[in-house]
Amino acid sequence: MKPLLKVEDLSIRLPEGADRPYAVQNLSYALNPGEILCVVGESGSGKSMTANAIMGLLPKAIQAERGAITFDGHDLVSLEERRARKMRGNRISMIFQEPMTALNPLMRIEDQIGEVFLIHSDMSKQQRQARTLELLKDVGLPDPEKAMKVYPHQLSGGQRQRVMIAMALALEPSILIADEPTTALDVTTQAQILHLIKELQRKHGTAVMFITHDFGVVAEIADRVVVMQYGKMVEIGDAQQVLNDPQHDYTKKLIAAVPPLVAPEREVQDRSKQRPALSVKSLCKTYVSPGSWFKPGRTVHAARDVNFDLYRGETLGLVGESGSGKSTVSRCIVRLLESDSGEILLDGDAIQDLDNKALAPYRKKIQMVFQDPYASLNPRKTVGRIIADGPIAQGVPVAEAMQRAKELLALVELPETALDRYPHEFSGGQRQRVGIARALAHNPQVLVADEAISALDVSVQAQILELIDTLKKKLNLAVLFVVHDLRVAAQVCDRIIVMKHGQIVEAGETKAVFEDPQHDYTRNLIESIPGADWRSGHQPQPAVGKIA
């Protein structure tokens, strides 16, 4: 088969002062007609750079230094701008990662899509409108007539991505470049968008270049795969072959870091005789968006009658999509948010109504590990102070608190010298260890991990998960693990709770929930995980590394 687009020996130089001289180096691969080619790599691998070069969207400071991108008999690298423009949005089009910001907020959807026809065709206004409507129907927007007239802010993230797809496919291009188009979306929306791309690709025979960091997504849609590391291609091959029999060590490592979607067998303890470390009873929390004199406020139920118990020595997963209320619940429990009603019993005592002073002793018993290791440490404090300031505020003498901080650093496997250094000197994973040390400074019974690994690279994720697990056993902690990634939840949680729109829809032992979900929503959630069939335990595992 004659390839549609060929990247040949492409090198793109980075401006001086970057961490490496080339964004991509000696890159060669081809895109065949009608296939979905996934370009995979971690952040900074240069995977998006080629796409931007194809589209002529490279920043001015970055230029292709060598090589060619051949499409339709032209070299896109050296093609003059005026002629390259004729291809863009017409023969080759692109969709982006952030649907929330990718559309012009001041233009109606109709006009933004219509613009493509205006640039590349001489269709009349009626024709443009008719075609736009057709496109909006094709991408499955509810009420396409109405969608024509609305502004982007009136649509959800998934809907906006559908608009972007409609826009990209308006002139039936030969190539669609999709740059992480589902990364910013929830898992069920992601599944729908992936499905849509695949369906439209089949229907129109478009070749798709799909850039992603997620091997699950690769398993879901790819025909062929290119794996990139530090600007170089390390592996290329058919999807099945790369996914199940990777050749390069880096690919093996990446695939091994994807938690298999199968909950391991866990020892089930009968805890009904124990007193729960944390008990949540009928917790409710509603947000009322501020209305004004003429407009009633909108009420959102972030937590509706939430009940659960958490025991020492176990990990309870709180899973759900954004807006499910899982973060609200976790923040109510640690009293960062005030709940409306219900009880929060910490070690048997109700804490939901205590004032700041009365709450202080209970603060020691429940602590939190946060999501973003870059935002969770005060940049102007030394690591030692970050860990010790909590106990100091609670009346522990400074010297004693600092001594304890030293011990805690050892506990989270950081060197003692970290004590006097500032957060910016550490990597994301190391920072997260500091965050954990801070949470442990009070000797808590309950540890709430709020998406504590989702901002980390996959390989680091595994290490932090292992650390939390070790500490849980060592210190007999009760861990509440708030997480949106079901693959992670399957691996680390003894029990899980599934939330939707502020309500618990399902709760149970992890293995049971994954193998036999009772609620439709749970089933939908699990089925939506990209590459659900891959690494689900039914296929042989690549034999590298161990997942914590």
Partner: protein
Amino acid sequence: MSILKKLSSNKVALFGLIVLALLILVAIFGPYLYETSPWRMVNRPFMPPLENGSLMLGTDTMGRDVLAGLVYGTRISLLVGLISTMIALLIGIPLGASAGYFGGWIDEALMRFTEIFQTVPSFALAIVIVAIFEPSVYSITLAIALVSWPPVARLVRGEFMALRNQEYVLAARLNGQSDHNIILKEILPNTLSPIIVMASLMVATAILLESSLSFLGLGDPEIMSWGYMIGAARTVIRQAWWLSFFPGIAIALTVLALNLVGEGLNEALNPKLSGSRES
């Protein structure tokens, strides 16, 4: 001092810094080195510049030395600029910090209050205050401070609102630290860079305000100032251009130097391009 290093690597900011340093030297030592009183009649009135070797910039309508006026005026300009900015910060930072940190009705009340001050034409307000409380260096400084704090409050409020939900602040709350501690030790140190940038630009604006007030005859009658010199020479502009020209250059140079330093600080402290400013 990496900030100073960054500043001096920026040529434009370095220029501002040097000019500013010279002005500060003149403000401190000028009156000791140049002993001619700016009020004393030293020669015949309306003497143009360079006509007399000892009177480089000539004399004014009453035969007073223009250069002496410039030298003595430096101190008052910088002092009023600096002190009024400090007072404005003392009003704006606590207001903005409490509004931003506590939110809710406290925020609502404080911001309505700030809004009123922002709506009122600030220069007109300053005129009214100085006029009614009699022009003096105190009333001028106070009036300038009173019209300058709202942008500070808004800036600090914005920063506090953004930072109060940062995870490290939440962690401090979970650690049982007091609001007082969190505001002063966790959040405030992290808002200092934009405050410093704004303050340097505010000193510049305050100097402009002071000179404008003095120009209208609302200066302290005891103190020679650049604005007063221009105001007094306004009606004789046709006969003696130098009387207004040189003090104006002095003001523009000072304000420009401060603005350049402010811009330089902004680039050094907030690497993102963020040139817009509320004034």
